[in-house]
């Protein structure tokens, strides 16, 4: 039971608990904050899986960008009311599907004999850099175009009609 295992369990429990709270709570703001905590726990998991660059990118983009976006959207769309949201009448179907899906994944995982994980690479950044700008450079450039298109689209959508 190394320190990594203990941390894995801690981050995993935090992630699952925050995700559960995020989808079950009736308050919008708490749902978004729970998402923020979930994303940070997942970043911790990434770090434990020797993906340190992915972990910091997760914090940079997801927590520092997407959660902020959601909070802005929340503040611009609730006009000051802080009422709890109504519950849902589809809880039964939703939880059934979730159990079935989760059960299938867990059963498939437990039943598979995975090969032994090779040792940890010395540092992920040089390899990641070589992959991104070497083998996967086309996808990398396309990602840039996607981001540009998203920025233009978002601007076009929220522009006030009077302008």
């Amino acid at each position: 039971m190394t320190a990594s295992d203990v941390l894995f369990i801690i981050f995993g429990v935090i992630a699952a608990a925050c995700a559960l709270y995020g989808v079950l709570t009736r308050y919008l703001l708490r749902s978004i904050v729970a998402l923020g905590a979930f994303l940070t726990a997942v970043a911790g998991e990434f770090y434990l899986l020797a993906a340190d660059f992915v972990a910091v990118v997760q914090i940079f983009v997801y927590v520092g960008g997407i959660v902020v976006l959601m909070l802005f959207a929340l503040m611009l769309s609730t006009s000051g009311e802080r009422q709890p949201l109504a519950g849902s009448d589809r809880r039964g179907l939703g939880s059934l599907l979730a159990y079935v899906l989760g059960g299938m994944v867990v059963w498939a995982t437990v039943g598979t004999r995975l090969p032994v994980v090779p040792g940890r690479l010395p540092a992920s950044v040089p390899y990641l850099g070589r992959a991104l700008l070497g083998g996967q450079v086309f996808a990398f450039e396309v990602l840039g175009v996607i981001l540009l298109a998203a920025v233009v689209a978002a601007l076009a959508l929220v522009r006030s009609e009077r302008l």
């Binding site: 039971m1 320190a3 703001l29 708490r30 904050v33 972990a55 914090i59 520092g64 902020v68 909070l71």
Partner: protein, 321 residues
């Protein structure tokens, strides 16, 4: 057993980081008051203790005994979480700063990106604090503060990317070795200027302090806070200020390198010079209006940092180093 030791070490480092930021805040509050006083041709606090050294202790005692007020309509979760989410990233960013070569808490291989990413979480805290206070001025202050922060994040990151291109590594400790011949302020002066200006905007210091301008928005997003919660915001501000100054000495001034004296002394000395420059700017310049500020970020700093990045890349390729 080693598990307990590793976890204990991690926890201990966290405590050390918090204590460090607390000590820094204590020193800098007093430093700011004395520096600002001298710039304004007066003396500043000199009566509490010898040369006013106990002034911050007195301030802390005053803050701790104040009543913890919460506005009636404030959302309790967000109101409490806001200050915490602003203070914790400021403390966390100290983890990768090497105070002289061996004294670093964790020499992460992605240290530089970590240092740029973790303060991004403070925006969440700012928005929560502004919104939860249920008061127009706080809300406006929180929105302006977050908009300013995320706008200036991009030019700042691009300026740091030029340094990373030269150094060839994202590890903060490698930056010290890479600057042994020449500190990067000589090689990348434009990046240095961009970094200093955008950092002032990130830390909400004048000339970019519209979010907390006393004459404009009462006190911005921390209007409704009192006592210990308010001091958390202060901790966040001065902690982030020193972290940014330390990062500037690391990136551009070759923090820790220098003859004769031990590396720690050089590092602390250089970073204090940078902090002094920040304070000097604050008490000399007037502040930008909110729209001037945003225009500056998107129409001046972003193109400038992009052009700087491309030029630096060209020069590096041409010189071949």
């Amino acid at each position: 057993m080693s598990t307990v030791l590793t976890l204990g070490e991690g926890f201990g480092l966290g405590v050390v980081a918090f204590t460090l930021v607390g000590a820094i805040t204590t020193v800098f509050v007093l430093l700011e008051r004395r520096v600002s006083a001298r710039i304004q041709m007066r003396v500043g606090p000199t009566r509490t203790g010898p040369h006013g050294l106990l002034q911050t202790i007195a301030d802390i005692v005053k803050l701790l005994v104040k009543e913890d007020v919460r506005p009636e309509y404030a959302d309790p979760v967000a109101f409490r979480l806001g200050p915490m989410l602003t203070a914790v990233p400021a403390v966390l960013s100290f983890v990768v700063i090497p105070f002289g070569a061996p004294l670093v808490m964790r020499a992460l291989n992605v240290g530089i990106v970590y240092f740029l990413a973790v303060p991004g979480m403070t925006v969440v805290g700012l928005l929560l604090a502004g919104w939860a206070s249920y008061d127009n001025y706080s809300f406006l202050g929180g929105l302006r503060s977050s908009a300013q922060f995320i706008s200036y994040e991009i030019p700042r990151t691009l300026a740091v990317v030029t340094v990373v291109m030269l150094a060839g590594s994202l590890n903060t400790v490698d930056l010290l070795d890479a600057q042994k011949p020449v500190p990067y302020i000589v090689l990348l002066p434009v990046s240095f200027v961009i970094y200093m200006a955008t950092t002032l905007a990130e830390v909400n210091r004048i000339p970019f302090d519209i979010p907390e301008a006393e004459s404009e928005l009462v006190a911005g997003y921390h209007t409704e806070y009192s006592g210990f919660r308010w001091s958390l915001f202060f901790l966040a501000e001065y902690g982030a200020l020193y972290a940014a100054a330390a990062f500037a000495t690391l990136l551009f001034l070759g923090g820790g390198n220098g003859p004769v004296l031990p590396a720690v002394v050089w590092f602390v000395g250089k970073s204090l010079v940078v902090v002094f420059v920040f304070m000097w700017v604050r008490w000399t310049l007037p502040r930008f209006r909110a729209d001037q500020l945003m225009r500056l970020a998107w129409k001046v700093f972003l193109p400038a940092s992009l052009v700087n990045l491309v030029l630096a890349a060209f020069v590096m390729m041409a010189v071949g180093s």
